[in-house]
C-alpha cells in the first residue's frame, strides 16, 4: 500500500480513526499551533470574541449530542448553562472552592438538572418536548432569582477570578488558553462519544425511537444519558462564561440564547461535530458583524435599528438555512471537499 495512490484502511482501527491521513494530522497540528500562538498577536477584543466562540462551541457540542444525535430537541440550553454557571460561581464565591473543583461540580449540577427535566422525554417527544424544555428554561431562571440569599437574585453575584495551580487567570490571554484547551478536549470527547455504543444508540433513537426500542435499546436509559451528557457540556460552558465575566446574573442566560444555540446547530448542520463548530463560529461572526454595523445603522436610520437588526438578521439566517441549506454548512463543506477530491471528474458528486 503505497502513499500517493489513495487511502487504504487495512483494519478496523484505521478505518474508525478520527484523523486518518498524515495530511489531516498536519492540518490539525497547524491549526492547534495557530490557535495557541494567536494570543501573542491579537488584541483583547479579538481574544474576547474567540473566547466567546470557544464557549459557544462547547455548549453547542452538548446540544448537538442531545438534539443532533439523539433527536431530543431542547430549547432550554441556556437554562442548563445557568445551572452549571451558578453552581460553580456559588461554590467559588461563597464556599471558597478552587476553580478546578467548582467547574466539574457545576457541570455535574447542570447534568443532574438536565436529567430531571429530561424525564418528560420518556413520555413525550417533538413539539411537546420543545415546550417542556422551554418551560425548563423559565423555571430554572425563576428559581435562581427566587433563591436570593444564595444566588444574589436580580442583583447578581460577583465571582472571584479563577486560579489554577497558582496561575491567576486574570488576563484575557490566560483565559483564552483555558477555554481553548477545554474546547479542544470537549470536541475530542464529543467526537468520541458519538462513536461509542451510546452514540450509536442515540442515532437509532433519533431515526426512529420505536424501532430502536424494539431492537433492544433502552429508551429510558439512553434518552436520559443524552440529556445528562448534553447538559454537562452546557454546565461547563455556563461556568466558563460566568467566570470570564467575574459576575453572575440571570441576564447572561436570556431565553433567546437557548434559541440561538439551536440556530447554531441548524446553520452548522445537525448531527455532526464539525457542524457544531461551524455553526457556533458562523453565528458568533454574524453577531460581531451586527455589533459593528449597529452604530452605523443607528446613526443612519433610527436609534432602535441596531437592536432590530440583530433580531431580524439572526431570524432570517435561520429561515434561509432551513429553506435553502437544511443540512447546514457542514454539508456544504463536505460537498466542496468532494468537489476538489474528484476534480477533474467531478461532474457527479456523491453525497
Amino acid at each position: 500500500m503505497g502513499s500517493g495512490s489513495g487511502t487504504f484502511h487495512e483494519n478496523y482501527a484505521q478505518d474508525m480513526a478520527i484523523f486518518r491521513t498524515k495530511g489531516q494530522w498536519g492540518v490539525l497540528f497547524a491549526f492547534l499551533i495557530v490557535l495557541f500562538v494567536c494570543p501573542l498577536f491579537s488584541s483583547d477584543r479579538i481574544l474576547t470574541i474567540l473566547t466567546m466562540m470557544g464557549i459557544a462551541v462547547i455548549s453547542v457540542h452538548g446540544l448537538n449530542i442531545l438534539t443532533g444525535y439523539c433527536g431530543q430537541i431542547s430549547i432550554g440550553h441556556a437554562g442548563f448553562m445557568a445551572v452549571g454557571g451558578y453552581t460553580s460561581a456559588i461554590l467559588c464565591a461563597k464556599l471558597g472552592f478552587p476553580f478546578w473543583v467548582a467547574l466539574p461540580c457545576g457541570a455535574l449540577a447542570a447534568g443532574i438538572a438536565g436529567f430531571i427535566f429530561g424525564l418528560p422525554s420518556l413520555k413525550i417527544k417533538g413539539f411537546y418536548l420543545i415546550m417542556a424544555t422551554i418551560a425548563a428554561h423559565f423555571i430554572i431562571i425563576w428559581t435562581i432569582i427566587q433563591l436570593r440569599s444564595i444566588t444574589g437574585g436580580p442583583d447578581g453575584l460577583s465571582v472571584p477570578t479563577p486560579t489554577i495551580g497558582g496561575i491567576v487567570l486574570s488576563s484575557k490571554a490566560n483565559y483564552f488558553y483555558l477555554v481553548m484547551v477545554i474546547t479542544c478536549l470537549a470536541t475530542l470527547l464529543a467526537k468520541n462519544i458519538v462513536r461509542t455504543r451510546a452514540g450509536r444508540a442515540f442515532i437509532a433513537i433519533r431515526d426512529n425511537d420505536l424501532a430502536a426500542e424494539v431492537m433492544g435499546i433502552s429508551l429510558w436509559s439512553y434518552k436520559l444519558q443524552a440529556f445528562f451528557i448534553g447538559c454537562v457540556y452546557a454546565g461547563v460552558a455556563g461556568s466558563l462564561l460566568l467566570h470570564y465575566f467575574s459576575f453572575a446574573s440571570t441576564d447572561q442566560f436570556p431565553f433567546m440564547d437557548s434559541v440561538w444555540y439551536l440556530g447554531m446547530l441548524i446553520v452548522g448542520g445537525m448531527g455532526s461535530t464539525t457542524g457544531a463548530i461551524f455553526g457556533a463560529v458562523a453565528l458568533k461572526l454574524l453577531d460581531e458583524l451586527v455589533t459593528m454595523a449597529g452604530p452605523v445603522l443607528s446613526a443612519a436610520v433610527a436609534p432602535q435599528a441596531a437592536a432590530s437588526l440583530a433580531l431580524i438578521s439572526h431570524g432570517l439566517v435561520i429561515i434561509i438555512f432551513l429553506i435553502f441549506e437544511p443540512r447546514g454548512l457542514h454539508h456544504r463543506w463536505e460537498m466542496i471537499k468532494a468537489y476538489f477530491r474528484l476534480w477533474p471528474f467531478s461532474h457527479e458528486v456523491l453525497e
Partner: protein, 295 residues
Amino acid sequence: MTFFLQLVVTGLALGMIYALIAIGFVIILKCSEVFNIAQGHFVLIGGYLGYTFLVPLGLPIWAALGMAIATAIIMGLAIERLTLRPLLGQPVLAVVMVTIALATVLGGLATLLWGAEYKAYHGLLPTITLKIGTISIPSESLIGLIVSVICVVLLMLLFRYTKIGLAMRATAEDLAVVQSVGIRATTVYAVSWVIACVVGVIGGILLGGVSGANMELAEIGLKAFAVVLLGGVNSIGGAIVGGIILGMLENVAAGYLDPLLPGGGLAKVFPFIVMIIVLIFRPYGLFGLTRIERI
C-alpha cells in the same frame, strides 16, 4: 370572598383572550401540523397595530380594527407563502425552528417600527361598566370577554357552514383524502395562517387596551402554549376550556401567593409550571387525541 370572586372574574376575561389566541395556534396545528411558536408575536404586532391606528392615525375603533385585520390577513398570507410552504413535509424541528425564527423577525420588525417602547392607549376602547353584587368587572376585561366570545362564535360558524371551513375540517381529518377529492391543501394552509394572524392581532388589541402595547405582549404566546397543552393541542374546545382555567388559576395564584414570595412574578412562571405538570402526567391534555404510533 369578594377578593376571590374578583380574581376569578378578571381571570375569566383574561382566560378568554388566551383562549382566542390559543385557537389560532390550534387551527394551524390541526390543518397543517405546524407548531406555530410565532403566535405570541402576532399578538405583539396586533398590540402595536392597535396603537398605530388608534393614536397617531386617530381612526375610530371600528376602522382601526378593520385596518388591523386587513394587515393581519396580508401578514398571514405572506408568512405562509414565503416561509412555511417551502418547508412542507419537513421534520418537526425544521418547522418549529422556522416559526421561532419568524418570531424573532417579527420581534425585530416591531422593534424597528415602534422602538420597543411602551405605548399606552387605555380609554380609547369603548367603556362598559358592570357590577354584579359586590364584584365590579373592569370595562377592559368585559370588552375582552365580549369580543373573544364573538370571535369564537364566528369561527364556529365558519367551520360549520362555509365551504372553506368544511375543507379545513376535512384537511385536519385526513390530508390524502382531501387532496384526492380536489381540495387545494395549500389554500387551506393559507387560510389557517390568516385566521391565526387575525385572532392573534385581535387578541393583541384587546390586551393592548388593558395594559398598553409593549414587547412583553409576545410572552402571551408562551401562555397560549400552556393553554393548548392543557386543553389538548388538537382540540378547539380544549383551547377554550384550557384558556379559561389557566386565566383563572393564574390570576388567583398570583393574587394570593405573590405577597408571600419576595420576588413576586409568579404569574410569569405559573404557565410553565402548569405546562410541565400537564406534560408529565397527561401529555395529550384534557381533550387531545392520544397518538398511537406504528413503525
